[in-house]
């Protein structure tokens, strides 16, 4: 996989993550679960900024940024706040894996950006009720 391929794959994942966060936010009550609502809102903003940056990085690498799908299939039922939180946690786990793959495929400012974002997604897992791990984004080492 080339760096451009890795950037495009990360961008495609970010399109899906943004869509999913939008759905999760819509199913979360700001008054009933304010902490979860705030965590989802902050994550949505972070992923939106990440998507925008990835589009620029793809263009700088000479590619045409992949477009978002019209809709994405969500796994499982998202009726309870615990299910919403678990889905958000899963998004961040997958994001770390994808971003560390980009770390491996890049250097310089792209690697630095990908590492910063991977670290943010790993740390945000704790905010979403996840446990600290030993090999976030590199599960084969566990």
């Amino acid at each position: 996989m080339s760096a451009l391929d890795a950037l495009q794959a990360t961008l495609a994942d970010e399109h899906a993550a943004l869509y999913t966060y939008g759905v999760l936010g819509a199913r979360t009550s700001q008054s009933a679960t304010p902490a979860l609502y705030d965590a989802l809102t902050a994550a949505y903003r972070r992923h939106r900024s990440r998507r925008d940056q990835l589009r620029l990085l793809v263009q700088e690498a000479g590619g045409q940024p992949v477009a978002a799908a019209a809709a994405y299939e969500l796994d499982g039922r998202l009726l309870r706040s615990a299910q919403v939180q678990a889905e958000a946690l899963e998004l961040e786990v997958a994001a770390v894996e994808r971003l560390l793959a980009l770390v491996a495929q890049s250097s310089g400012t792209v690697r630095e950006w990908a590492l910063t974002e991977a670290t943010w997604s790993a740390t945000w897992q704790v905010e979403l009720g996840g446990a600290a791990g030993t090999w976030p984004g590199a599960p084969e080492l566990a």
Binding site: S107, A122, G137
Partner: protein, 167 residues
């Protein structure tokens, strides 16, 4: 997608022994002057970099050990991060077979819980900076990925410790 499936023991060894499989890409590191084969010794700059991260982990472990000794009630709380760093060290040391495990100097940690946790927090922040620097400087992409995971893990544990302290 993550890199090719690699066993825990061989990940860094193969990463260091077969550098720069990504040289065709314009934002990857430039190819080396000499042709590398799987039998090529680790690139010197990456060997030194691994040694520096190992030393940083040993130093951080010594602070965790000293904190747990100074405040025994902290031992359980520090258990997960101590275990994680022990596994980080195991993988990195295994990648450089002839490397000696450095010993850390004497560490003094206050015997009160909050100052001890403060010392741990500062030590972990320093470790994260050092691992991050290693990740950004690594010639091997696979090594960079492993160091990136260690930096992410360190940040996770710091966040978990901060959450426990304030809750």
């Amino acid at each position: 997608m993550p890199g090719r499936p690699l066993s825990r023991r061989t990940t860094l060894g193969s990463a260091l022994a077969a550098p720069l499989a990504l040289a065709a890409c314009d934002i990857d590191p430039p190819p080396r002057e000499s042709e590398s084969s799987p039998a090529t010794p680790p690139p010197p700059e990456d060997s030194a970099l691994v040694a520096a991260v190992v030393a940083a982990l040993v130093r951080a472990q010594s602070v965790l050990d000293a904190a747990a000794a100074a405040v025994p009630s902290l031992a359980d709380r520090l258990g997960p991060v101590r275990t994680a760093h022990a596994e980080h060290l195991e993988v990195l040391v295994g990648a450089v077979p002839e490397a000696d495990l450095p010993t850390a100097g004497a560490v003094s940690v206050p015997a009160q819980i909050l100052p001890a946790l403060g010392a741990v927090r500062r030590s972990e922040q320093r470790l994260q900076r050092e691992v991050r620097e290693g990740c950004l400087a690594a010639a091997s992409g696979d090594l960079a990925r492993v160091l990136g995971s260690i930096a992410a893990s360190t940040s996770q544990h710091s966040a978990a410790l901060a959450t426990e302290v304030t809750s």
